[in-house]
Assembly symmetry: C2
Homo-oligomer: 143 residues x 2
DNA sequence: CCTACGATCTGAAGTGACTACAGACGCAAG
DNA sequence: CTTGCGTCTGTAGTCACTTCAGATCGTAGG
């Protein structure tokens, strides 16, 4: 058995994470330190699965601390036993909180979008002597 | 003339920025170093107006670099002259780019929201043996 | 044989926009 | 006298990476 697992570059390609990100996750303890062949990291299937989990969670906008918690829950889940419903309830709570945050951010961005789009329309109309965007930022309200 | 201008705390209250933020803006050159009375900063009306401009721009989501550019444009605008239309066109371009970015971020957040809400519904239903959220993060797709 | 290349390694520093903290100063009221 | 307030300076911490400098290794080409 010469080559067990894959190199970090291969893992990066497979996972869509960058090499530096993978090493960063290792440094902060999100990924375990993998096996080494000489000085090179070699990743097994479990490592790749864990990284894929992290990546999906990140794509949903979870913070790394939340990902850490979700990984712990996933581990408790996989360990089996009667914890199942508790695990799901905990995960649900975490996700619900995160969803609320996402919705708040959407709302904030939409308010920005509305004002920006409105101001830009008045800019494009070009009826004012001074720039409506600059004017409204300067606190000279539109008539 | 004993007391010219207002103290940093008063400016913070008036502007809605925190004291530390005001000093931070000064450090990075977004606000000019104000006059001093002894060791205390004293802000004049122009400073307050500039800070208000910054704050409104930040509320619309512009980055500090964009705010810097907008301030320069506002200055050029106030200087008067034939630059007016050019200034407005530049500001419009800046804002249009920013608006596109805001819309992209809204779209990304909405994708997250959709997936999160969907998964949470399946979680709440509680029909699966394992947690649907954990399962989907682990790459075990829903049936 | 020498060299260039690609992949990897380590450790440190930079990003954006603040926020927090430590420790000192000066002035007024109690 | 001491307490408290408001301010000062300077430094470091946050989040999730990204970038950089400089070293090391095996292999392929000339």
């Amino acid at each position: 058995m010469r080559e067990q697992g894959i190199a970090i570059g291969a893992l990066a390609r497979r996972s869509g994470c960058r090499i530096e990100t993978i090493r960063y996750y290792e440094r902060i303890g999100l990924l375990p330190a993998p096996a080494r062949q000489g000085r090179f990291r070699r990743y097994a299937g479990a490592d790749a699965a864990r990284l894929a989990f992290i990546r999906r969670a990140r794509e949903l906008g979870f913070t790394l601390d939340q990902v850490r918690a979700l990984l712990r829950l996933a581990g408790a889940d996989a360990a089996g036993g009667a914890g199942g419903p508790t695990v799901c309830a905990d995960a649900r709570e975490l996700a619900a909180e995160h969803l609320a945050g996402v919705r708040a951010r959407i709302a904030a961005l939409r308010r920005m979008e509305t004002v920006l789009a409105q101001t830009l329309r008045r800019c494009a109309a070009g009826e004012s002597p001074d720039c409506p965007l600059i004017a409204s930022l300067a606190g000279r309200p539109p008539p």
